[in-house]
Structure formats: C-alpha cells, structure tokens
Assembly symmetry: C2
Homo-oligomer: 139 residues x 2
C-alpha cells in the first residue's frame, strides 16, 4: 500500500479528533483557522510567516486571521521593529484551548501505543522526525 496514503490516514485522524475535541469544548474554529492558529508563536507572528508556515498565500492567511480576530481568538498589534508589519497574537481566550488539544493528543497517542506497542511508537516517531528533515519546508 502507498506510503503517502498510509501517512495521510492517521494524520487526518489526529487533525479531525483534535478539532472535534476543541469544538466540543466550546471553541468555534474551523480546520483551516486552526492550522493557522497553531503556528502563532508566543510573542506574536507576522502574517507573512504564518502564511509560509501554513503553506498558504498571504491573502489566505489574512482571510483566516480576519476571521480569528473577529471571534476574538487572535489580535493584531503593531510590530515595534517594522512599521509595515503587524504581529498576530493569540488571545488569552484562545489559549484556553491548548490544554484541550493537548489532552486529546495524549489520548490518541495512548491508543496508538496500546495498539502497536511502545517500541514501534518510538520507531515511528524517530523515522518521522528524520523524514521531517528532508520534507519539512520550514526548518
């Protein structure tokens, strides 16, 4: 079986379940918004960086940040080091979603480990981290 599909299936499982958990906890956010939100750093991140990290155009990132801003999950503040730029920052309200997402992620990992064993989980993670070195465009 095609390794692309083998990778895709569990990755979608993770995405779907984490989003479902966050939505169930009362956060109204879409998959696309979440992908952008996930990439916002501690001290704020520029739109251009978000676009690169999420693999979308600046326009798309801007569109999604507009929506996130409208519902109060991010805010835009001026970048003190560059008059053209603004920093996107996660609000306290949105930060409350983090533990929800982490808990679901831990649950998924536990289920997987239960099924394939601790050893194989370790091998899986090791192989994926190394693959990231050659497939991740953001590092």
């Amino acid at each position: 079986m095609n390794i692309g599909l083998l990778l895709f299936i569990p990755s979608r499982e993770v995405e779907n379940r984490i989003l479902a958990a966050v939505v169930a906890a009362g956060f109204e956010v879409t998959q696309a918004q979440a992908r952008v939100l996930m990439r916002v750093g501690r001290d704020g991140t520029r739109l251009t960086e978000l676009a690169e990290a999420a693999q979308v155009t600046k326009q798309t990132a801007g569109f999604l940040v507009d929506q996130l801003e409208k519902v109060g999950y991010v805010e835009r503040v001026p970048d003190p080091t560059d008059g053209r730029a603004r920093l996107v920052r996660v609000t306290d309200r949105a930060k409350e979603a983090v533990p929800v997402a982490n808990a679901e992620m831990a649950r998924i990992e536990a289920e997987w480990e239960q099924h394939i064993g601790k050893r194989r989980m370790g091998q899986l993670r090791e192989a994926l981290e190394m693959l990231g070195e050659i497939t991740d465009p953001y590092r």
Copy 2:
C-alpha cells in the same frame, strides 16, 4: 513535536509530488479529482462507494466525477446489477497516468530510504500499516 504534524508533512510531500509529476506529464487533474480517481477500481466503482472511500459526500464525489468525465478520464456506465446505479470506470487515457505516478512514488521512497536507512523505512511502514488498522475507516 506533535505526531499529527509529523505525519502530515511527509504525506503532503507525497501528494504534492505525485500530483506535480502527473501534471508535468500532461495530465490535467486537480488534487481533489486525483483523490477520487485513485479509488476507482478495476471493474468500475459506484459513486456512493467512491464517496465513502474518499471521505466526501455523494454530491462532492459526483461533482468531481462530472469534471473527470468531461475531460475524459472516467466514464459512467450502467450497473447491470442495479438499475439505479452507474459504475464509474477509468478510461484508457487516464490509465496512462498510473506508471507516471508509480515512478514518482518509487523515487520518493528511494530518497527517503537514502536518508533514514532501509531498516527505519521498514519500521515506519510496519508501524503505519498497524495504525491503519485502527484509523482507516475503510477496511
């Protein structure tokens, strides 16, 4: 690092590169169309089955099959066993894309094996196949 993201990055790499190779070979097809096309079986597949396999609604599958039909990559024939249904079949023209996709897949796997080693590739595949047992909704 989040294992969902670790899985997603190489899976996207595979999808992007295979699509790019197929498009470069002169086939005009989109990612969404390709995902449906990939699921059409040897002797034809019903729209409903395609929708399930590709994780989309029947309407979406129908929309994509319409486009694929328009450019001549699939055809719809009556299902002899059920008057309501029709079978979607891949045309000879579209079948020519298969070796192109396979060649690119082989190239990717070779690159990965070069980077992480044969042993880890084997472990990766084994772990993913086992994970498929609990995460793949179509088996």
